[in-house]
């Protein structure tokens, strides 16, 4: 066995998994706080990536100004969606809310086709292009730097949720909405905050992933493929999203390298099937039985 090759493949997979973890975080934050599975997360990623394209490409801003602007734009979009379309659905059946998020996804696809056309796009190059070597192991620069940015943001998120008032309010609401409400936490504001923060993580991931794999109105499909990560890790577990993201990224890459690209998805879905049989609520998810 060529261990050098295995090492390089594994590095690439782990780095890509880091970006999956960031997208999964977007899913989990929203679900944890509001119990809404946001099927529009991929399209929010896409919208933020198009905003980056507009700022850095069309308006020729510096990428380091365009990146935060695009991420802020994507997170504001999440906040607006929650306030105008999800909040009126409070009390409705989860299926209805899911359908609303699917509708939002379609609207966002139509919107970007209208503004930026359906042409495939490449984002202006903003990450260093020199190859990265860890020891003798080669790592593609976009993946390496994308991982570093994503990891830095993940750490900030974890610290925020652990120590800040907003983070505590979000965790309290996630644990017990009624108790949080009775303790004076503005639950509606927490809901909105969860959408903003979830969309922020997704938006950053959107720009970083689009910088690697290109951008088109169909880009949002990546959000759905990350649903596997979220289910494996547990829908309401941030730790689960991080671990499952990195693991699925690694597994997908190794399976693709050794068995061929057509085995990437079967490998991840095999893991999903096994996890669903053994732990239907995911590796780290809350064991919850809902009687309907």
């Amino acid at each position: 066995m060529d261990w050098m090759f295995f090492g390089e493949i594994s590095l690439a997979g782990l780095a890509m998994g880091g970006l999956y973890a960031l997208i999964a975080l977007g899913f989990v934050i929203i679900y944890k706080a509001t119990r809404v599975i946001n099927f529009a997360i991929g399209e929010i990623m896409m919208f933020a990536a198009y905003l980056f394209l507009a700022f850095a490409g069309g308006m020729e801003m510096s990428a380091w100004i365009a990146l935060p602007l695009a991420v802020i734009g994507g997170s504001l979009l999440g906040g607006v969606i929650e306030k105008t379309m999800i909040r009126p659905m409070l009390g409705e059946s989860p299926i209805s809310v899911v359908m609303v998020t699917i509708g939002i996804a379609s609207i966002l696809v139509g919107l970007v086709e209208f503004i930026w056309t359906a042409d495939p796009q490449l984002l202006p190059s903003f990450l260093p292009r020199e190859p990265v070597f860890i020891g003798d192991l080669y790592l593609a620069p976009k993946i390496a730097y994308g991982f570093l940015i994503g990891a830095a943001v993940l750490i900030v998120y974890l610290l925020y949720f652990r120590f800040s008032r907003g983070g505590v309010a979000l965790r309290a609401t996630a644990s017990d909405q009624a108790a949080a409400y009775s303790m004076g936490i503005n639950v509606r504001r927490v809901f909105n905050m969860a959408w903003v923060f979830g969309s922020l993580a997704a938006s950053l991931a959107g720009v970083l992933v689009a910088a690697t794999g290109g951008l088109s109105p169909q880009f949002g499909i990546i959000g759905l493929s990350v649903l596997v990560v979220v289910i494996v890790g547990g829908l309401d577990s941030i730790l689960g999203a991080l671990i499952a993201g990195v693991f699925i990224g690694w597994l997908e890459t190794v399976a693709g390298a050794y068995f061929g690209g057509e085995y990437r998805m079967p490998a991840t879905f095999l893991v999903l099937a096994v996890i669903l049989v053994i732990r239907p609520y995911g590796l780290f998810g809350t064991h919850e039985i809902e009687r309907v």
Binding site: F114, G213, G256
Partner: protein, 402 residues
């Protein structure tokens, strides 16, 4: 930026009203004869919309042009289409609707999936000849698809042309090596087995074949595999843009001197526009002259004039536009030959007329006279990106496969 958005918005709004009307009708002409109908399942939205918009423009412009020339043997031409979003069920529904109400003589299919799905109905109706966006090898099976043709070389033939070019670069038995990179789709897999067989015949070693997941976000592991086999050429198939750019950029960063080539849908100017200098040296096989090539000819000049007339601000017209125009040219030739022979416009008669095309001068759309073989036009040329000039330039003669 905002002016650009508004401009695009205005164009799309105009397009939207056309779609809403569903029908694009030729200008009224003082002709008493029944119109010849060109039907179409056109992907104006969805994953293939980037090409569908230009295909629609090409068919619309050709219809206007041929009507301005007096139609086909005095028959006006009417182009009727519906948006399909590149979904097979919607394409089938559009075909049923249009064939039920308009009896199209010819029809543009938007995908291999649709053209295969509609084959039995097309065969049983027996009054429409179909071609379209697909260059699928399977569609050149005359037994199964007697009323469908390919408006150029099929994907296997494109690989044949590419491999002939590569073989020509071999010096004194030092034959270059090649790797195939393709998407995990029916489209992507189409020419691979035939390509390997052809490579073996030419003495070219296929050192790796790599299949990528559609919409794959990262291909660095695949690139690492190529780094180990160091192919002289990589041939892409089943992509429009990504991940071609990633392969090229990363392999060059690794210091490899591999050359990169692609088939029809991977050889649009989009690659130059989006990749910029990184696209330099990329090569594609193309059966038609590019809109901005230095070539000319009466039909190519007419195409450019019509394109300029219909939308003076559009500038360059992509390969989808050229392909649609050529489709309609072939339909016109087939209908004309059938009418000239005093035959009805049935599938059999039109297929026979198509098969009779030999040494046909396309007026500069294709640089040499073309002959139909097994319901396809197995001709093409290798073009290479000159990033500085922002266009493809020919690096081979026209290659007509037997």
């Amino acid at each position: 930026m905002f002016r650009n958005i508004l401009e695009k918005g205005r164009r799309l709004a105009g397009l939207g009203s056309l779609v809403a009307a569903l029908t694009v009708t030729a200008p009224a002409m003082a002709q008493d004869k029944e119109p010849i109908v060109f039907g179409g399942s056109i992907p104006l939205s969805g994953v293939f919309a980037f090409a569908g918009i230009h295909i629609h423009a090409g068919l619309t412009d050709y219809t206007d042009w041929i009507n301005s020339e007096g139609g086909i043997n005095g028959h006006p031409v009417k182009y009727v289409m519906e948006d399909t979003a590149y979904e097979v069920d919607r394409s089938v529904a559009a075909f049923k609707k249009i064939s039920g109400s308009e009896s199209p003589a010819t029809y543009y299919g938007d995908s291999t999936g649709f053209m295969k799905a509609i084959a039995s109905e097309l065969n049983s109706q027996g009054n429409t000849l179909m071609s379209g966006a697909s260059f699928a090898t399977a569609l050149t099976d005359n037994e199964q698809y007697p009323y469908q043709f390919i408006p150029g070389p099929n994907y296997s033939q494109m690989f044949g042309i590419i491999l002939e070019y590569i073989a020509d670069q071999g010096k004194d038995g030092d034959m270059p090596t090649v790797a195939f990179v393709y998407s995990d789709t029916e489209f992507g897999k189409d020419p691979i087995e035939n390509g390997k067989a052809r490579a073996a015949e030419l003495g070219i070693e296929v050192v790796e074949d790599i299949v990528t997941k559609p919409g794959s976000v990262d291909v660095s592991s695949e690139i690492l595999k190529l780094r180990r086999v160091r192919p002289d050429y990589v041939v892409f198939h089943g992509y429009v843009l990504s991940p071609i750019n990633e392969f090229m950029v990363q392999m060059r960063q690794m210091g490899l001197d591999t050359q990169f080539m692609g088939t029809f849908w991977s050889s649009d100017k989009l690659i130059i526009d989006k990749m910029g200098e990184d696209a330099d040296g990329y090569m594609g096989v193309m059966p038609y002259n590019y809109y901005d090539s230095e070539e000319s000819g009466p039909m190519l000049d007419a195409l450019r004039a019509q394109a300029e007339k219909s939308d003076p601000e559009a500038g360059y017209r992509p390969t989808g536009y050229m392909q649609a125009w050529f489709n309609a040219m072939v339909w016109t030739e087939v209908v004309k030959r059938t009418l000239d022979a005093d035959k009805e416009l049935t599938g059999d008669n039109m297929a026979e007329a198509l098969a009779s095309i030999e040494d046909w001068d396309t007026g500069g759309i294709i640089g040499i006279p073309v002959t139909v073989r097994d319901m396809s036009f197995p001709v093409g040329r290798i073009w290479r990106v000159n990033a500085e000039k922002g266009r493809y330039e020919p690096v081979s003669d026209w290659i007509h496969l037997d």
